[in-house]
């Protein structure tokens, strides 16, 4: 086993490429996660609404969202698999020593994810042939399986922040593992709910944003109103809840990971009456430049009183805490997240007030401009939240038990840089294609819609209709003579 002292002396050169690669693959995967977790729920709400009211527009939206989900879920699956590989490829030291302590959460995630994959397949490919009720009912457990998958990931991440459920033997290896304690660590609850609600809010704003853009361009039909209202309402309802959850998790970090809190708020020395900085840079000598200083506020936010004592970065040795640069990154990410959250709260309030007073959507184009940006903004907020928790934990991979430097792969830096380059090329290709395909789908649908409105009179005999009577001929480019219906029950 390596000795900590030896590793402190020189940070291995493969740290930077390993870190960069992990960061890059996570940043990109995270873009897809909100849709993976929450798009099924949003689609099901739309679907249920359509079925209940017999609303063809709602059903059309649900079908189109399914088509998007099919591509998005596939790319989410493969980029997620890469992350599992990276535990071994980049951080074998962590898995080798701690795998049996905190790995079990991933087992739960594994079968949650398995169920989700099965149900999504049935949902996406069940539109045409399953009876409408059966199809809808089979998809109902989908949101719960998504929550189960998130459970596993968040259990593992919160364990890295507040590791519990083991004791160390004389050689420094974990023994006497208590799985229940290792899963339900102090940070688990706050992280889990903050994350799950963030996914709902983000997916809601992203989806609604598409229709807000259409609205701004003058397409103000029922299709756009419905496509905007349902996801936006969901997101708007969850936004104030998220605000409170975010406030609560920050206070949990203050209690459970005081040094991370110090980095988030760039607090140098442990003190009372600590001021709050909006942005601003921390320098290695403890001075702060730039930013807006609000006296006393940090202490008040942390403990509701100006004389609350806030732990500073200097409370621990320099190599046990984030560097000044890392603290500044954490602080910027945290402030950006809070800032975006506050703006989204205003937008949600605007919407809520309009609904309660006037029973209609706000008319101002500024509202729709805001809504169009809300999707991107909330994705940025999710990224910032992740940066806050990961960079704020440095230099630890397992908080106070294992340094990132001890976990990193022995593979040499040039090999890692080369692989990182390859990964960037592959991801740019994959995500670029994904975006192009999405935009093309949107254009096609819009053109088809315009054509349909133009010649509404000419009712062409369509091929098979979902939920309609089954014909014996297969649609599309079926090869050869088709005589199906053979061994169908």
């Amino acid at each position: 086993m390596h000795t900590t002292v030896h590793l402190l002396a020189d940070v291995p050169p493969q740290m930077l490429p390993a870190r960069s690669m992990m960061a890059f693959t996570l940043v990109t995967h995270i873009i897809l996660v909100p849709l993976g977790v929450a798009l099924p729920l949003i689609t099901l709400i739309m679907h249920g609404y359509g079925l209940r009211r017999g609303d063809a527009t709602a059903l059309l939206l649900a079908r189109r969202w399914s088509a998007v989900m099919a591509v998005q879920f596939a790319i989410g699956v493969v980029t997620g698999t890469v992350l599992s590989f990276e535990f071994g490829l980049l951080w074998p030291g962590m898995m080798g020593r701690w795998g049996d302590v905190f790995g079990l959460g991933f087992g739960v995630e594994g079968w949650g994810f398995f169920l989700e994959a099965v149900l999504i397949a049935i949902y996406l490919y069940g539109w045409r042939r399953l009876p409408s009720r059966t199809h809808f009912l089979l998809a109902l457990p989908l949101p719960f399986t998504a929550l189960l998958g998130a459970f596993g990931i968040l259990a593992a991440n919160s364990w890295m922040n507040t590791p519990r459920g083991f004791s160390l033997d004389s050689a420094g290896n974990p023994v006497a593992v208590n799985v229940r304690k290792a899963i339900f660590t102090p940070m688990f609850g706050p992280e889990y709910w903050h994350f799950v609600v963030a996914m709902f809010v983000t997916a809601g704003y992203v989806t609604a944003g598409v229709y807000a853009v259409g609205w701004l361009r003058g397409r103000r039909d029922r299709y756009h109103r419905l496509g905007f209202t349902i996801p936006f309402t969901l997101a708007a309802v969850f936004t104030p809840i998220q605000f409170m959850l975010g406030d609560s998790i920050a206070r949990q970090v203050f209690h459970k990971q005081p040094v991370k809190f110090a980095a988030m708020e760039i607090v140098w020395k442990t003190d009372t009456h600590v001021p709050e900085y909006l942005f601003g840079r921390l320098h290695p000598d403890g001075t702060i430049s730039g930013g807006i200083k609000i006296p006393q506020l940090d202490s008040i936010l942390a403990g509701f009183r100006p004389d609350t004592k806030v732990t500073g970065l200097t409370s621990v040795a320099a190599d046990d805490r984030p560097t000044a640069t890392q603290a500044t990154i954490t602080h910027f990410a945290f402030d950006t997240m809070v800032g975006i959250g506050s703006l989204l709260l205003l937008l949600a309030l605007w919407y809520g007030v309009m609904w309660l007073w006037r029973r209609r959507l706000p008319a101002s184009p500024w509202f729709f401009r805001g809504a169009a940006c809300a999707g991107v903004a909330s994705v940025v907020a999710v990224e910032c939240g992740w940066i806050t928790t990961e960079v704020g934990r440095q230099p630890w991979i397992v908080y106070q038990y294992m340094r990132v430097a001890e976990a990193v792969t022995p593979t040499r830096a040039p090999a890692l840089w080369t692989m990182f380059g390859l990964v960037i090329v592959v991801y740019v290709f994959v995500f670029g294609s994904f975006l192009v395909i999405l935009l093309k789908m949107r254009t096609q649908w819009r053109l088809a819609d315009e054509a349909a409105t133009a010649e509404r009179t000419a009712a062409a005999p369509e091929t098979e209709t979902p939920y309609g009577p089954r014909s014996t001929l297969r649609p599309g480019s079926a090869p050869g003579p088709s005589a199906s219906g053979e061994d169908r029950p």
Binding site: L60, A67, V71, A74, V77, V78, T79, T81, F85, F87, G88, M95, G96, G99, G103, F106, G107, G110, W111, F113, F114, L115, A117, L119, A121, I122, Y125, G126, W127, R128, F166, P174, V175, A176, N178, Y223, P410, T411, A415, V423, V426, V430, F434, I437, K440, M441, D449, A452, T453, E462, T463, T465, P466, P475, G476, S477, A478, G480, P481, R488
Partner: protein, 348 residues
């Protein structure tokens, strides 16, 4: 049997499931690659698209289970393998991304150039991914890695690894062809039925040749596994794999029900995987790391068994239901008409 042994058995079972389910998928990609030009290959590719679409994601989730059980149940083994087999595993991961993305993007892509590009990406990575995974397995089987081994090309570029990699590709091609032949009937394309039956027979012949070569190569290169494969349970499983392969050939030649040739092919591949696993006993990595030495904390292993049990109760019926729906033609992707306004399903 100890808990660790039981977990090792579960791991082997999941690897076999991945080899069969994921293997069928990779095999479909292999035949996509070899289907010829855009015109000649249009119909086989059409079938591959339609047969794979509803189930390929589920087929590949087995791999996540393999990883999770390995790092939770045998953390040292996980660390050892990933440190020593860095390059093939990294390339396999890249292959998985390209493959999934290529397949998912090919369908909605409109223009022929786009479909060609995504199709080529999908097909080539379907070939490379199983090869690299097989090569990594070969490095383990030949005992080239031990706890602390640094990554080096020798770990996975050696006779056993090369053969394992080729065998993995041949097995996926075999499974893919057998399953696609069945799908061809389901999609009422009798000519493609014969097309894939012929290819399945070629693939099984290649598998047989590679298996025989492997017996010679492992004799010197991986003695522990060779001994296991030629004695006791390992031998019995090898014989079972051979019998099942022959049975598959017989069923493919007679125009029998596709269901039985599929069962026989799955039995052949699964018993091949089990033969390898059993031949390694009692080692995770012959001859440096035993199952008992590599096992994680006993509490965790018991919990892992519990999680596995719940998975069996919850996931298996769900997966079986999906496969049932799929083979009964209940799953079909949305068409353009379904996504058009005033089109299908709308009467407003």
């Amino acid at each position: 049997m100890t808990t660790a042994g039981l977990v090792a058995l579960v791991l082997l079972l999941v690897i076999a499931a991945y080899a069969c389910a994921g293997g069928t998928d990779y095999g479909a990609g292999f035949w996509d690659l070899t289907a010829g030009g855009a015109e000649r290959g249009e119909r086989p590719r059409w079938l591959i698209d339609h047969a794979m679409a509803p189930v390929w994601e589920v087929n590949n989730v087995w791999l996540i289970f393999v990883l999770v059980i390995t790092w939770t149940g045998f953390p040292v083994f996980f660390q050892t393998v990933f440190a020593a087999m860095w390059l093939p595993l990294a390339l396999a991961a890249v292959g998985i991304v390209l493959r999934g993305a290529g397949f998912a993007l090919r369908k909605p892509a409109r223009r022929l150039a786009g479909r060609r590009l995504y199709g080529a990406v999908f097909a080539i990575s379907s070939l490379l991914t199983p090869f690299f995974l097989g090569a990594a397995a070969g490095g383990i089987a030949s005992g080239r890695v031990a706890p602390g081994t640094a990554a080096s090309p020798e770990n996975w570029a050696n006779p056993t690894s090369l053969l394992f990699g080729l065998l993995a590709v041949a097995m996926t091609a075999f499974l893919g062809a057998v399953f696609l032949a069945g799908d061809a009937r389901r999609f009422s394309a009798p000519d493609l039925d014969g097309y894939f039956r012929r290819r399945a027979l070629v693939a099984v012949a290649v598998v047989a040749v590679l298996a025989v070569i492997m017996l010679f190569v492992t004799h010197g290169d991986a003695p522990h596994v060779w001994h296991g494969l030629t004695h006791g349970v390992g031998l019995a499983l090898v014989v079972l794999a051979a019998v099942a392969s022959l049975a598959t050939c017989g069923l493919l030649l007679r125009t029998a029900d596709a269901r039985w040739s599929r069962v026989a092919a799955v039995v052949a591949v699964a018993s091949g995987i089990f033969a390898w696993g059993m031949a390694q006993r009692p080692y995770l990595v012959p001859v440096s790391l035993t199952v008992a030495e590599g096992a994680g904390a006993p509490t965790t292993l018991r919990w892992l068994m519990l999680v596995t049990l719940i998975a069996v109760v919850l996931v298996f019926p769900a997966v079986a239901f999906l496969y049932w729906l799929d083979t009964h033609g209940e799953l079909e992707s949305l068409t353009d008409a379904d996504l058009r306004r005033g089109g299908a399903g709308d009467d407003a």
